[in-house]
Amino acid sequence: MRSSLGYKTKKIKIMNEFALIFRNDFHPETGYSPEKLQDIMKQWQVWMGGMAAKGQLANLGTRLGGEGKTLKPSNLVTNGPYAEIKEMITGVIVVKAGDIDGATEIAKGCPILNNGGSVEVRNIIPIGAN
């Protein structure tokens, strides 16, 4: 196959990557006791640690804070995270799996599901070399 420079490139097969997007009600942690928070944190560490040990984690992920701005066409700006729905994104990680069903299996273990939140699994389009 040829790159845009006209030179041949070898295609190398990589494990597929999937994004796991976590959502929960706005600021769910307010109102939790310190013990409950500790417990939740531990659940996440166990889950993430398990994935890391199995080589399923592509990166440590990103945790999003409570601030935000939303920018829409015609320069419309609203304060706060995207608020068309009551759930907001709290974080994203990238996992490695053979296909989306494999990634979904991994997602089933996510602690957020025990705390009223949701997980969205999406395939990632490789950016690669152009």
Binding site: A19, R63, I127
Partner: protein
């Protein structure tokens, strides 16, 4: 930076199966990079999806409580949300009726 828009159908790929980046996106992101404010170009999400909810509820498709779905996300560096907002001003997704959600990132220790 989280990019949302209504589903745009099939995603264009190069011959090697990689994302075909439009000139607009490349110039916009290159411009951010030229200001030394790009931390990561991030990822483009495909059209496959599964949504998991409590009680073992699993549905096919991207999360779609509203008609817009997430197309991708990137990470920028800025002094404030306002400065980040400025960087987002020329994001090509705005030209197709989409929007950009800007969120601060909580630093996690190693």
């Amino acid at each position: 930076m989280i990019y949302r828009s209504e589903p745009m159908g099939e995603i264009k790929l190069t011959a090697e199966g990689n994302l075909e980046v439009s000139k607009e996106w490349e110039n916009w992101m290159g411009g951010v990079a030229a200001q030394n404010k790009l931390v990561s170009p991030g990822m483009r999400l495909g059209n496959e999806g599964r949504t998991l909810k409590p009680g073992n509820i699993i549905t096919n498709g991207p999360y779609a409580e509203v008609k817009e779905i997430i197309g991708g996300l990137s990470i920028f560096r800025a002094e404030s949300l306002e400065e980040a907002l400025e960087l987002a001003n020329n994001c090509p997704i705005l030209n197709v009726g989409g929007n950009v959600e800007i969120r601060d990132i909580i630093q996690m220790n190693g």
